[in-house]
């Protein structure tokens, strides 16, 4: 993050000075700060609403249902980890929370599964552990609530009309990641 911020601002100063646009850069700094506040305020409503709905779905057992549906898939994808019932429970909980877009619930469960899968491997990621992390770095959210909230905040007429695009893109992205992991696991020992 230090690098991102520094590169952006230093480039802006050098570029702006070279192009003789320092007046605009100087005004933009304060405009940007104000835009950050505005964006956050207009995002807050939608983010809170969706977090509420997803929490409701989790409490009435939808997360467990999803986890049940995911078990056979996980058994095929991560057979060694899924052989242990505790790890399988953490894995399916992690995946179902990811599907509902509940990052705060997904991460601790995923970490629990990762720790169990890494036990006794001496700091080297196993093929299955790499697959689990790739699954978590690719998004598999059913409702992309943050992207939709951002569109709504900026005045979109139908913020969720991107749903089919997001589903297809996510599916392709996860597939490509898992395929790449499969192909590379023989190369990177």
């Amino acid at each position: 993050m230090d690098a991102v911020w520094t590169i952006l601002t230093v480039t802006a100063v050098i570029w702006g000075a070279a192009a003789g646009r320092m007046g605009a850069v100087s005004a933009a700094a304060l405009e940007g700060a104000a835009a950050g506040v505005q964006l956050c305020l207009s995002l807050a409503g939608a983010v809170c609403l969706w977090s509420g709905v997803m929490e409701l779905l989790r409490r009435c057992g939808l997360a467990e249902k999803l986890a049940g549906l995911l078990r056979p898939v996980l058994g095929r994808l991560l057979p060694r980890a899924a052989a242990n019932p505790d790890t399988l429970a953490a894995l399916s909980g992690n995946m179902s929370a990811n599907l509902l877009g509940l990052g705060n619930a997904a991460t601790p469960l995923g970490m629990e599964a990762a720790c169990a899968m890494a036990a006794g491997c001496g700091g080297r990621a196993s093929d299955e552990l790499v697959r689990l992390v790739v699954l978590n770095t690719a998004s598999i959210q059913l409702l992309p609530t943050t992207a939709a909230s951002l569109r709504a905040a900026l005045g979109s007429t139908a913020p969720l009309d991107i749903l089919p695009c997001v589903w297809v893109s996510s599916a392709l992205s996860v597939t490509a990641g898992l395929l790449a992991a499969r192909l590379l696991e023989g190369v990177w020992r």
Partner: protein, 170 residues
Amino acid sequence: MSDYVVPVVLAGAALYALARRSDVYAALTDGAAEGLKTVWRIFPSLVALLTAVYMFRASGALDSLTAWCAPALGWLGVPPETAGIMLVRPVSGSAALAVAGEVMAAHGPDSAIGRTAAVMLGCSETTFYTVAVYFGAAKIRRTRHTIPAALIADLTGFLAAAWTVRLFFP
């Protein structure tokens, strides 16, 4: 059709929860409090990052970056205006949100560019953060092919975002 998604999900979730004797309203407000925490957490970084993004754009550097990337991205069918999102998405979630918000505000959230930006956000995660969290917890030092595979997944998602937007919104 998409007009129905939000109202039906809201009412459907309430009915389903009530039928299973869940505490509908308490769950909604507890979840909303959790959402407010998320917003509160990204607030400072959004302010800082949008400052940097606005400066970067005003200096003309963003236009030059877009122009450099344009031939390659155009060949892949990706709007060059989204280059910045692809660069920061794997590194920082709030930076990607800031850059995508800026792109959407400039081109309109319902334009092809704005939609592509939103789909790019929706189909990817903050790769480096996730890898750091999981491998940090599991005490893994040799990450092997994790980063390359995860970045291939991100890139595929970005390309697919541009292609699906063109496919579904001709």
